[in-house]
């Protein structure tokens, strides 16, 4: 059975080059970068080289890169690092839980948070940010690209608004870095989080960009690593992997591979629209990362479609799956105004660098058959019309 992995927004496979780059740092080059002897300095050189690669990926200076354990830590470090009790934060209703739960925690500690709505395409209106500013606003946190839909936010405009208001701007770029160009100066952000395992580097690695001059409180108390911003002996093999992944991602983007991937994604969407009735691409009208397609398949449950595709060797995801531990529909889709029954009927396809045209051909062979079987089982499938679909859109 062919196996096709279309859940790259959950995690990506490690590239062989990344693993080969990491390997020596598990064995002969195992030194602690803080040690003054030769082995330690060898480690230090590798660490700083990785830092340069990550910095280049996002257009930063190496000194502005703090290595973390991933996107969640980076987001938490950014938010807890600049916000205190009494401060106000502006964020969006569709942020990753790392941001939302950090904000909720800060609310219990005396901060105030405004959760901005998004439009039907999943985009924040920058004017709403301007309108939400208060004298005690300390931070704006809006993600660069959404994990469920791939929709890209108007971060450059948000950056300008934050700068005019003299408030910090953090953006979760976990789903953007390595897929679309990311430049911290163009965005105008002060803090930007990335995650290694979203760009074919190891899980448990990441980085937070911290613009020079940003007053960031460290979360961990300990040694002086990362210029006092993140204590703890560095995960050297992981960081080397992250640096290599960042370098390869930059090359991939420079070669125009992002556009090629977008063309594959578009072919997937066209094929599904052509051969499966009553479908809708969530966020289609907005700028999106080139790999993501979140599609409603009316009258069936997204979870059962994902499971049925898994039985065909095709890995996709749905935020509403019982397997995720929650029976609630994806909050991102609900925030976009999607009716709950349509949110529950959505499946996310997230392609990766390893996805081939033959993979898409196979998926397009399987999806119509699987959907037809599930619809035949559904009490809601009555050969409905497109008017029904339009009526249930907000």
């Amino acid at each position: 059975m062919r196996r096709v992995y279309l859940d790259n927004n959950a995690t990506t496979p490690l590239l062989p080059e990344v693993f080969e780059a990491m390997r020596p740092y598990f064995f002969e080059k195992f030194g602690n970068p803080s040690s003054s002897h030769e082995r330690g300095q060898q480690a230090r050189i590798a660490l700083e080289h990785a830092r340069e690669e990550v910095a280049q990926l996002v257009g930063a200076r190496p000194s502005e890169i703090v290595f973390t354990s991933g996107g969640t830590e980076g987001d938490n470090l950014a938010i807890f690092g600049v916000v205190a009790s009494g401060d106000h934060i502006i964020t969006s209703a569709i942020e990753h839980h790392a941001v939302l739960n950090a904000c909720k925690r800060l609310e219990t500690l005396g901060a105030q948070v405004t959760y901005l709505p998004v439009d039907s395409q999943g985009r924040v209106d920058p004017d709403n940010i301007r309108a939400a500013l208060r004298p005690n606003t300390r931070l704006v946190s809006v993600m660069m690209a959404n994990n469920e839909t791939g929709v890209v936010q108007p971060v450059e405009e948000i950056g300008r608004i934050a700068a005019e208001a003299d408030v910090w701007f953090h953006t979760d770029a976990v789903q953007a870095a390595g897929k679309i160009p990311v430049n911290v100066d163009r965005i105008g952000c002060d803090l930007l989080a990335i995650s290694g395992h979203k760009l074919n580097a190891p899980q448990g690695t990441g980085a937070l960009y911290v613009r020079a001059g940003t007053l960031l409180r460290a979360m961990f108390q300990g040694g002086p690593q990362e210029r006092g911003r993140r204590a703890g002996t560095e995960n050297l093999p992981g960081i080397v992997g992250l640096g290599t992944g960042a370098a390869l991602a930059r090359e991939w983007l420079a070669l125009g591979k992002g556009e090629e991937l977008g063309a594959l994604r578009d072919r997937l969407e066209r094929g599904i629209a052509q051969h499966v009735d009553m479908t809708l691409v969530n966020g289609k009208g907005a700028p999106r990362t080139p790999n993501t397609s979140n599609i409603v398949f009316e009258c069936i449950a997204g979870g059962s479609l994902a499971d049925a595709l898994d039985l065909k060797g095709i890995a996709v995801s749905t935020g509403s799956a019982c397997s995720s531990g929650s029976a609630h529909p994806p909050y991102v889709l609900l925030a976009m105004g999607l009716a709950p029954e349509l949110a529950h009927a959505s499946v996310r396809f997230s392609l990766g660098k390893q996805t081939t045209p033959d993979d898409i051909t196979y998926v397009l062979e399987c999806v119509p058959e699987v959907v037809a079987k599930l619809r035949a089982m559904s009490p809601l499938w009555k050969n409905g019309t497109r008017e029904r679909l339009a009526r249930t859109q907000a």
């Binding site: 009258c299 449950a301 979870g303 019982c322 397997s323 029976a327 089982m377 009490p379």
Partner: protein, 122 residues
């Protein structure tokens, strides 16, 4: 994640469909997850002669409905009413902890259907 029995019922659902001669047909939904289950029964006296289901739901919902119809077709109404959530789940080889609602939905449909039969007999 799913037991082989659950996967079997998902891939090869038993008793899927409708009954044109149904004694009763009910549709129940879980408002939280949006799963919807339609259960149709032909009840002759005190026996469930036929049972069919249709479902829009997650894999456990489809599996529970399929398995339940297997358990109740040909069974006495009284025996069907004795099926518990736990016995349904056990007969499927278990369900993930978060999927217990699927068994509950199936039993809700059964009790609603049999309740209607009882009400119409009064």
């Amino acid at each position: 994640m799913y037991s082989p029995t659950v996967l079997d019922h998902f891939k090869n659902a038993r008793n899927m469909g409708v009954l044109p001669d149904a004694t009763t047909s009910v549709q129940v939904s879980n408002p939280v997850c949006g799963d919807t289950l339609e259960l149709s029964l032909v009840v002759n006296g005190l026996e469930i002669a036929k049972a069919r289901f249709r479902a829009k739901g997650c894999t456990p919902t489809i599996a529970c409905a399929s398995r339940l119809t297997e358990m109740i077709e040909g069974a006495a109404v009284a025996d069907a009413l004795r099926i518990t959530r736990e016995s349904l789940i056990t007969s499927l080889g278990g369900l993930p902890e978060a999927s217990g609602h699927a068994a509950q939905l199936a039993l809700d449909a059964l009790r609603a259907a049999l309740g209607r039969v009882a009400a119409s007999a009064v």
